[in-house]
């Protein structure tokens, strides 16, 4: 009996992630880039639940991430709450906003919903930028503290250190990944992906289209909130430009690149999108032009990204009949 590809890759990635601090202990830069990639993996997982499984496009997701980020940052910086409650605060803030936006907007037809997410993203950016008193405005919000140490017996984990923070981010990303894992393999997950494939069939089978969409949207915005929070805690500074429309589009890009609708899609996408350019360090314009062409090609020939392509190859190897499912 063969393990499904996704399971194998998942195990490999988790193992790699867990061992990274030991492998790259001597090379903080690599660890740094991996942490950054993880900070993007988390919201990418959120988008995967929304886009990859439920089939809803959101072009303003980093806006929700920003809500989580600023909430967590302010709770820790100004209110002085410890890390965990602050993080939950950020998560709930983002999820609740998702709820408020979702209630009216998820009844809209596909195009309209996309436009709404775009508009919401823009509005949120403006607020981050203009509310100088609250968010520090366009000058950014410096001096965001990182969580304090935890001491298990003699073993001390200092989250201010790079390694410590990597471990923290990895644990959280792993938890989120686990959540995604059980979600999409549950009846709930199957209902979601039925919505992507054929909404009216799903309805005829008894899926409450609106309810399930709302649940998926709230989940993905809450997860995005966690991701945003981790990002600003990592950078120890928040800036509106970290949560603008381009960032939202980048988020979509890394998911589509990695493979929407695959468990490991967001992980692979984030790593390829963040890490590769970091190591290549090519001119930004060239990098973006390149990604533009990649998107066109993916859209046309491999709508399910790297994972989709890998699956085809894997099926060929395990001489199953190769077949890529067209996304529609």
């Amino acid at each position: 009996m063969k393990l499904p590809l996704s399971t194998i890759v998942t195990i490999v990635i988790l193992a790699f992630g867990a061992l990274a601090p030991f492998i790259f202990g001597g090379q903080p830069y690599i660890l740094y880039v991996l942490t950054l990639a993880l900070c993007y993996t988390i919201p990418a997982i959120g988008v995967n639940i929304l886009y990859g499984y439920t089939g809803l496009v959101s072009l303003g997701h980093m806006g929700f991430a920003g809500v989580g980020a600023y909430t967590t940052a302010l709770l820790m910086k100004d209110v002085g709450l410890p890390f965990v409650p602050s993080l939950f605060g950020g998560m709930f803030a983002a999820g609740f906003l998702g709820f408020l936006v979702g209630i009216p907007c998820l009844r809209l037809r596909s195009h309209y919903f996309i436009i709404v997410t775009l508009a919401v993203g823009m509005i949120l950016f403006t607020l981050f930028n203009n509310l100088d008193g609250l968010t520090g405005g366009a000058e950014g919000l410096p001096g965001i503290p990182r969580p304090g140490n935890i001491e298990i017996g003699s073993f001390v984990l200092d989250f201010r250190s790079l390694t410590g923070f990597y471990v923290l981010t990895f644990i959280i990303a792993a938890l989120i990944f686990g959540l995604q894992y059980i979600l999409v393999r549950s009846d709930f997950g199957r209902s979601l992906s039925s919505l992507r494939q054929d909404e009216s069939l799903a309805a005829a089978r008894g899926v409450n289209v609106f309810g399930h969409k709302l649940a998926a949207f709230v989940l993905s915005t809450a997860i995005a909130g966690v991701g945003g929070a981790m990002k600003v805690l990592f950078l120890r500074a928040a800036a509106p430009l970290s949560f603008d429309m381009n960032e939202s589009i980048n988020l979509m890009m890394m998911l589509i690149l990695g493979g929407a609708g695959y468990l490991v899609g967001p992980v692979i996408g984030a790593i390829t999108f963040i890490a590769l350019p970091e190591f290549l360090r090519v001119a930004a314009e060239m990098r973006l032009i390149f990604f533009g062409f990649v998107l066109l090609i993916l859209a046309r020939f491999a709508p399910r990204g790297i994972c989709g392509a890998a699956e085809v190859a894997y099926r060929k190897l395990t001489n199953k009949e190769a077949n890529v499912v067209r996304y529609t």
């Binding site: 903080p28 740094y32 203009n130 366009a138 000058e139 250190s161 990002k231 120890r236 500074a237």
Partner: protein, 384 residues
Amino acid sequence: MRKLLLTTALAAAFMAPAAYADETVTIGIVTAQTGPLAAPGKFQMNGFNLAVDEINGNGGFQVGDTTYMLELKVYDTRCNAAEGASAMQRLATVDQVPIVLGELCSPVAAAEAPIAQDFQVPLVVTVPTASSLTEQGNPYFFRVNANSGQLNEALAAFVETIDSEPLSFIAWNNDTGRGGANGMRELLPEDFEFGYIGFFNVGEVDFANHITNIRNEDSKAIMLLMDEEPGALAIRQIRDAGLDAKLIGTLAMGSNRFLDRLNAEYLNGMVQYSSFPPNAPMERIKNFSDTYREKYGEESHGFAAQSYDGVFVAVEAMKAAGTTTDGAAIRDALAEISVDGVIGTISFDEKGQASPPVYITEWCEDGSRKIIAPEDLAADCGAG
């Protein structure tokens, strides 16, 4: 004397840099070379390169009894916090530079500063102005240029002396613009009368709405908090719309480069603060501007001057610390240092903030500029 150094520097720069030194030190540079702030990034780089050419042209610098040549390791941050932070990380851990200079955008600097502290690599910024940057109690963060607070104080002091009420604003809706506008509103006295305050997003080019509001408030003066490109557009639109209020600009607007975008009668009588009047009748500024023009064929720029001085500050700090590797020692040296730079004498307060002089210049009819403040440095048309 310095003039002579500079010319030899040039000679050296145009031939292959004379390499009779024992070793080289690599200094890290973070700046924007692509993206929306690519243009100011260029000026910053020009300043760095000029300084390096000069130092290497003179056969490098002495630390202890070894002579070192300077080298720059430049990373593009595109004014993006995440990329800036990873560039800083890379410089500190991969390239292991003793000190990092540069940066344009305040939020990016805010993301880079903590990493400087983590790895004990001093970060000396030469352009970002957000006052909050030097308020974080980060011992490894230094700023050569005047921050928005200092610039605003100088400008506010001047604005009070002229008939400018009600004063209206057109400001960029980003760190420069918002910081400036909010700062001015705090600094000017309670009873000072403000007119209309308008913000526009980066990339907006139509100022008609702001102009109407300003006309509506019949403001005496308009403060333009933005850089060259929108500035030129705003001024043209203001004058084309038949508004003749007094214009008050930023350091980006006191240069011949700016003049090329418009023409003298649009600018006549406009004043702006400046951390570096390129034609000031001061030996140090003249020399710098001449070399700059010879090398880059254009009038020198404040960002270039500040960055040029940044390199010398770094070098002096390494000399004083007697090391080209130990960031902590260099940091301590920086805290004590005092360097006579192009923009003035540079020494850092306990927050790491230098306080170079801030000038006010005014455009003359012939398209030249005069320095009207500070009094002791005042000079007539052709000087600013």
